[in-house]
Symmetry: C2
Subunit: 144 residues, 2 copies
């Protein structure tokens, strides 16, 4: 509370707080041997089913160029696969392996129980409200 609130706009706060959350989240995921982007990609496929890489990158809030290395590592780890598209020979459809499905399910369950520490300064109602606002903001940006 001390000091003038000099620059505390929402993009600034999101960027800085996101940096904090990112480090915490990265450390959590490291326990499962994957990175943040790998996890984001796995989640999208788990929710949406098999996808082409450009749409996949879009939904994972990544760039199409940078998703290549992520998919390389995911396939090398046996978590995902690239298959040729039925009709369009430019496309490669990305699917999860059974191991990939199992891993993302395990992580999702563990994550639900692991966010309390990070949010300890907010009461339950505030946590729900924050989650709701962030989700709507995220969806608005990702599904544009």
């Amino acid at each position: 509370m001390s000091g003038i609130a000099y620059e505390r706009g929402t993009p600034f706060l999101l960027a800085r707080l996101g940096s904090l959350a990112s480090r915490s989240w990265t450390a959590f995921l490291a326990g499962y041997g994957i990175t943040q982007n790998q996890h984001a990609v796995l989640v999208v496929i788990r929710e949406q089913g098999p996808l082409g890489q450009r749409r996949l990158a879009e939904l994972a809030a990544m760039d199409a160029r940078n998703i290549v290395a992520v998919l390389d590592s995911l396939t090398a780890a046996g978590l995902a696969e690239r298959r040729p598209h039925d009709t369009d020979r430019r496309r490669r459809v990305v699917t999860l392996t059974t191991y990939g499905v199992r891993l993302i399910d395990t992580i999702s369950e563990a994550a639900a129980h692991g966010q309390d520490h990070f949010l300890r300064s907010l009461d339950p109602a505030e946590r729900d409200h924050l989650n709701d606002l962030l989700r709507r903001l995220y969806n608005a940006h990702v599904q544009a």
Copy 2:
């Protein structure tokens, strides 16, 4: 809205949304020739006054090791200065130059008008509420 909400915990959302906000914020700051970490450091000094590097890193949500290069670049750009501490010869007190003060003030003013696009999916009351929740969360983590 389609698909099961498979993993949308707050740390996940903050990390992903923070990644989006970070890119937007970085692009905005690039117009003023500084990076996100440089800006965060300038803001902290502007609010708190001259500080030692370890406390400065703490308040800027950075690591003490990684702030060295940031301060090197800030001093090289004539935005900040490192001075010896009065009594403790281990310490180096970081201050802003008049140019640094002027730049951070200009940016703060411009940023206040530039966040509308990023938050366009929320109405004014929701934006205020989100900002409040994020600010409290950020302060709780930074001032611990």
